[in-house]
């Protein structure tokens, strides 16, 4: 199985845990990062298939991370799911990320959507 890493950038550890469990149940390797800067560092190292991105982060903001990923050729295939409790921000970012989910996010929904975003497995 090729790259099925889901990077969960979420400062709330409980939500991060839930997201992680949900994605693991659909065969994503999950990694949780709670800090914006750490996230950028990590993104320089790995190429996740899906990034679940919270907008309210300590350090670098979620919007900056979104902009950085979009600016990075290497991460062109990385799908971004924004999970925010800020309905206003959600409205504003719709169209810029692959998905904008307004918290609370149902586990089932997350699972479905993540699976849909998973790049096609080219290997048999």
């Amino acid at each position: 199985m090729t790259n099925s890493i889901a990077l969960i950038i979420e400062d709330d550890p409980k939500l991060a845990h839930i997201f992680s469990l949900a994605l693991q149940s659909v065969q994503f390797e999950t990694e949780i990062i709670q800090d914006g800067e750490d996230a950028l560092d990590r993104l320089a190292e790995i190429t996740p298939a899906v990034v679940v991105l919270d907008l309210h982060l300590p350090g670098v903001s979620g919007r900056d991370i979104l902009r950085q990923i979009r600016a990075d050729e290497r991460l062109a295939k990385t799908r971004i799911m924004i999970a925010t409790a800020d309905a206003l921000m959600a409205e504003r970012l719709r169209g810029k990320a692959d998905l904008v989910l307004l918290k609370p996010i149902s586990v089932g929904q997350l699972r479905d959507l993540a699976q849909r975003l998973r790049p096609l497995d080219t290997t048999p």
């Binding site: 839930i18 206003l88 409205e91 609370p104 996010i105 149902s106 089932g108």
Partner: protein, 916 residues
């Protein structure tokens, strides 16, 4: 020894003497100046001495041994001697005045002619020549010669004696005449016989004898009376010399009026150079008035004494002069006028001076008589000794009345006068201005001294300057009036400006009140305005020169129906001046306050606008005796006219202003209320957003864990656990929806909701909604179906997320209120420009009265429904708002118990073009 110079000089001397004598002979004979006697005598003596010198020189030649002197010397000597004699002859006749006497003439001619008759023939015979060369007898002897010649020379001195005789005769000096005659006779006797024929002594003696004899015979010179006459002559001589030197003219005229004597002064006075020119002229001709002389003659004759007149004379060159002509008439024995003596005194200058003096005196008199002065003199005791001048009249006094009175008593109560008099008596000159009986005098006074420099009185003058004081006062009053007028005009100007430029009426009126007060030098100025019914007045402005701060009258409303001042005043409509405000019935209502402020006079000026009295200006003064003049009243009326208009304008302006202000205030209140509402709404929305955001996170955690629990992530659950977990999930979802709806509502309210327009497929939209809603519908046993009309374009433009939200809301609502039957979602195009989404249910239906408000936030048909059916009550509101936002409209058809049909009509925006 021959010395030629001596005979030459001798000859010159001889000839000189001869010529001079001859000349003088003719001169004296014909035209001898009478007043040149002494000079003529002296000249004669000179000629004789020159002759003597020539003779001496001739003889001197002989003394030197020159025995043959030139014959010309002899001639000259002889001629000189002869002509000397002629000269003498002339003098004699001249002095004696006997020329006209033929006897005298004959004797004298013979005596002189003798020389020619005897000496000259001798000369030609050579006899005479011998007398120079030879002594008588032909002997030559020095001592004899010298003796003889000396004697001859001495003989010549006899001429002097002759002259003395002449002088004595002329001046009638008997003794001198006698003495001269004796000397000559003695000379004749002592002259040697042989020399007598040559000596002049004979001739001289003869002359003397003639005069002497004549004097005895004709003039009685040696008579005692003659002696008296001699004395008289002497005195007359003195008198004559005196008159000659007198500075006044002296004359004598004959009875015919011909001037027979005049002194040089008279000649000078009358413009003649010589006295002689006056002689024999007519005295009457000298007078300017030809009859003057006769008048005076009569006067003189009548009086018999010396009478003087001031007369006008005409001088030789026609000039008129003033003279004092004093004369007397001397009568002869028959009582007729013998002659007239008189004096003429040139009084022209005196006359002029006198006239000038007279004029000056007249002027002085005029000054004293007509000028408003008082001249006065006081003695040491203060008694009036002189008091003159027209100034007295002004005081109602007469000079007589004053003289002899004591000034200390007369003016005992006038300290100014007393002080001045005392000062003058204390030897102190000075000036002062003194008021007497209402008149003003400028007084000069000086002490009067006697010779010992002691003060003996006071002299002085007082000038009535009352008129000047009055003029000064009048001028001052005029100036004051003029200044006042300028002041008033300035006031008026300032008021006009204030009224014109100050938009704030109150400020303008305050300024006006202040200006009026100062302009009229008043105490206070108030401006009151009446109400329309004129039952009361409102004091709008009150200005007071003192205690301005204590005024609290402004704004006070005072009823005027009982106030006579105003009732009367309104009736009159004219200025009202109350000169006795403390007692006047007009001001009975305010006597107390007027008395407190001690007001003396009030002036009420009506403020009239369009013929109606709208108020008053009240000016007061606290100056005792001050009354307002018609001029001031006029000015006040002018000012009132100015400000009445301004007040009227301001009233209209204020009314308009108030209306505008009220409208504005209402608008502002409205705006404020709106702002407050908006602000409240914004705060509510923000709160909602915040709350929903804060709720979301924990909701997410609850929902997440329970869902994971439910799907067995954490291991399989018991049936009961499963059931409970699902209930937790439902509740959490409900809560989540609630929060979402609240958030949407909040966003609508904040106007923050934005649409994301993009192409979408209606089919996908319906499928997604069905996917979401099927679970719910199936749970209630309802069938959820859809119907997409064929003419609906496969791809539409819009916000699929929001459309889905609308549809989900409507469908979930339909499911919620439908217990049996079905829920149909229908897409169709009612017309070419719109498409519609329809959600049809077979549920309870919505009562008609509820249909009006069902789309409002937090409204459901019945409050109890919320409890029964759940939901926030926001769903339909959000539907309506989203539809509106998308440019569409939502309609409801429903009948109670027959189901409901919600229709969303949206503009059709085909994006087929984009698609292609």
């Amino acid at each position: 020894m021959n010395i030629p110079i001596i005979p030459a000089v001798a000859m010159v001397f001889g000839m000189t003497s001869a010529v001079t004598s001859l000349a003088m002979f003719f001169l004296v004979l014909w035209q001898a100046p009478r007043n040149r006697d002494n000079q003529l005598m002296a000249l004669y003596m000179v000629t004789v001495i020159i002759w003597g010198l020539s003779v001496f020189m001739g003889h001197f030649l002989g003394l030197l041994g020159q025995t043959t002197p030139s014959v010309w010397v002899v001639y000259s000597v002889v001629l000189a001697r002869s002509f000397n004699a002629l000269f003498l002859f002339a003098l004699v006749t001249h002095y004696v005045g006997l020329w006209r006497n033929r006897w005298v003439q004959g004797i004298l001619l013979v005596s002189v002619g003798y020389r020619f008759l005897i000496v000259i023939p001798l000369l030609f015979q050579g006899q005479l020549y011998n007398q120079f060369a030879l002594l008588p007898g032909g002997q030559t002897s020095f001592h004899i010669e010298s003796w003889g010649y000396i004697l001859l020379f001495i003989n010549n001195l006899y001429y002097l004696a002759t002259l003395g005789v002449l002088w004595a005769f002329r001046h009638q000096r008997a003794r001198h005449l006698l003495l001269g005659t004796i000397i000559l006779l003695v000379g004749v006797l002592i002259t040697p016989t042989q020399l007598r024929v040559y000596s002049p002594v004979i001739v001289n003696a003869a002359i003397a004898g003639i005069f002497f004899t004549y004097a005895i015979l004709q003039e009685n010179l040696f008579n005692p009376l003659v002696k008296l006459n001699e004395a008289l002559q002497e005195s007359e001589e003195k008198y004559r010399s005196l008159t000659n030197q007198l500075p006044i003219g002296v004359y004598r005229t004959s009875r015919d009026g011909e001037i027979v004597y005049a002194n040089p002064t008279l000649a000078t006075i009358l413009g003649y150079e010589r006295v002689e020119d006056l002689i024999k002229t007519s005295a009457a001709d000298a007078y300017v008035d030809p009859d003057q002389r006769n008048k005076q003659l009569g006067q003189w004759k009548a009086s018999g004494g010396i009478v003087g007149n001031e007369v006008k004379l005409r001088t030789k060159d026609g000039k008129e002069i003033w003279a004092r002509d004093t004369g007397r008439v001397i009568l002869d024995e028959s009582g007729e006028i013998d002659y007239i003596d008189g004096t003429i005194e040139d009084i022209t200058e005196y006359k002029h001076a006198e006239q000038a003096l007279k004029k000056a005196e007249q002027r002085l008199r005029a000054v004293i008589d007509y000028a408003p002065i008082v001249l006065f003199a006081l003695d040491r005791e203060g008694t009036i000794t002189l008091s003159e001048g027209k100034g007295l009249e002004a005081l109602g006094l007469k000079p007589d009345h004053m003289i002899g009175q004591s000034i200390f008593e007369l003016y005992a109560d006038n300290t100014q006068i007393l002080e001045s008099v005392h000062a003058a008596l204390a030897n102190e000159a000075g000036t002062s201005t003194i008021e007497v009986d209402g008149l003003t005098f400028d007084v000069w006074y000086e002490p009067l001294w006697n010779q010992n420099k002691q003060v003996v009185g006071v002299v002085g003058a007082a000038l009535d300057v009352t008129w000047r004081k009055q003029a000064e006062q009048t001028l001052q009053q005029t100036n004051v009036k003029l200044q006042q007028r300028i002041h008033e005009l300035g006031t008026l100007n300032r008021i006009t400006q204030a009224v014109a430029t100050v938009t704030d009426l109150q400020s303008a009126l305050e300024l006006v009140a202040q200006e009026i007060t100062h302009c009229f030098n008043g105490f206070s100025t108030g401006i009151s305005l009446f109400n329309e019914a004129r039952t009361e007045r409102t004091i709008v402005v009150m200005y007071q020169v003192q205690d301005q701060d204590e005024l609290d009258l402004v704004g006070r409303v005072i009823p005027i129906t009982d106030d006579m001042t105003y009732t009367e005043y309104i009736g009159r409509g004219k200025p009202l001046v109350i000169p006795d405000p403390q007692t006047s019935p007009y001001t009975r209502a305010s006597h107390k306050s007027i008395q407190e402020r001690n007001l003396q006079c009030l002036m009420l000026i009506p403020l009239q606008s369009r013929g109606e009295i709208i108020g008053t200006i009240t000016v007061s003064t606290n100056q005792v005796g001050r009354e307002f003049t018609p001029t001031e009243i006029g000015l006040a009326e002018t000012i009132a006219g100015q400000i009445a208009g301004a007040i009227e304008n301001a009233r209209l302006y204020t009314a308009a202003q108030q209306e505008i202000a009220e409208r504005k205030r209402a608008q502002e209140a409205l705006a404020q209320a709106r702002d407050q509402a908006l602000e409240a709404s914004r705060l509510k929305s923000e709160l909602l957003a915040k709350v929903s955001h804060e709720l979301r996170t924990p909701l997410g955690v609850i929902l997440g864990y329970t869902e994971l629990l439910e799907d067995g992530t954490f291991g399989s659950l018991s049936e009961q656990q499963q059931e409970i977990t699902v209930k937790v999930i439902d509740s959490a979802r409900y809560l989540s929806n609630l929060v979402n709806e609240l958030l949407d509502q909040a966003q609508f309210e904040r106007g923050k909701l934005e649409l994301v327009i993009k192409p979408f497929a209606p089919k996908d939209l319906i499928r997604q909604v069905e996917t979401k809603m099927n679970v719910l519908a199936q749970a209630k046993g309802l069938s959820l179906t859809h119907d997409i009309a064929v003419h609906v374009p496969p791809i539409l433009s819009g916000d699929p997320y929001r459309l889905q939200q609308v549809l989900v809301n409507l469908v979930s609502n339909a499911i919620k209120f439908t217990d049996t039957g079905e829920v149909i979602v229908r897409f169709y195009c009612p017309d070419p420009e719109h498409w519609a989404m329809q959600v049809i249910d077979t549920g309870l239906g919505i009562p008609e009265e509820a249909q009006a408000y069902i789309f409002e936030p937090f409204r459901q048909v019945d409050g109890s429904m919320t409890r029964e059916y759940g939901g926030t009550g926001l769903g339909l509101s959000i539907v309506k708002q989203l539809t509106t936002l998308m440019g569409g409209q939502v309609t409801l058809e429903s009948q109670l118990g027959q189901g409901s049909t919600f229709t969303i009509l949206l503009p059709l925006t085909s994006i087929q073009e984009q698609k292609i």
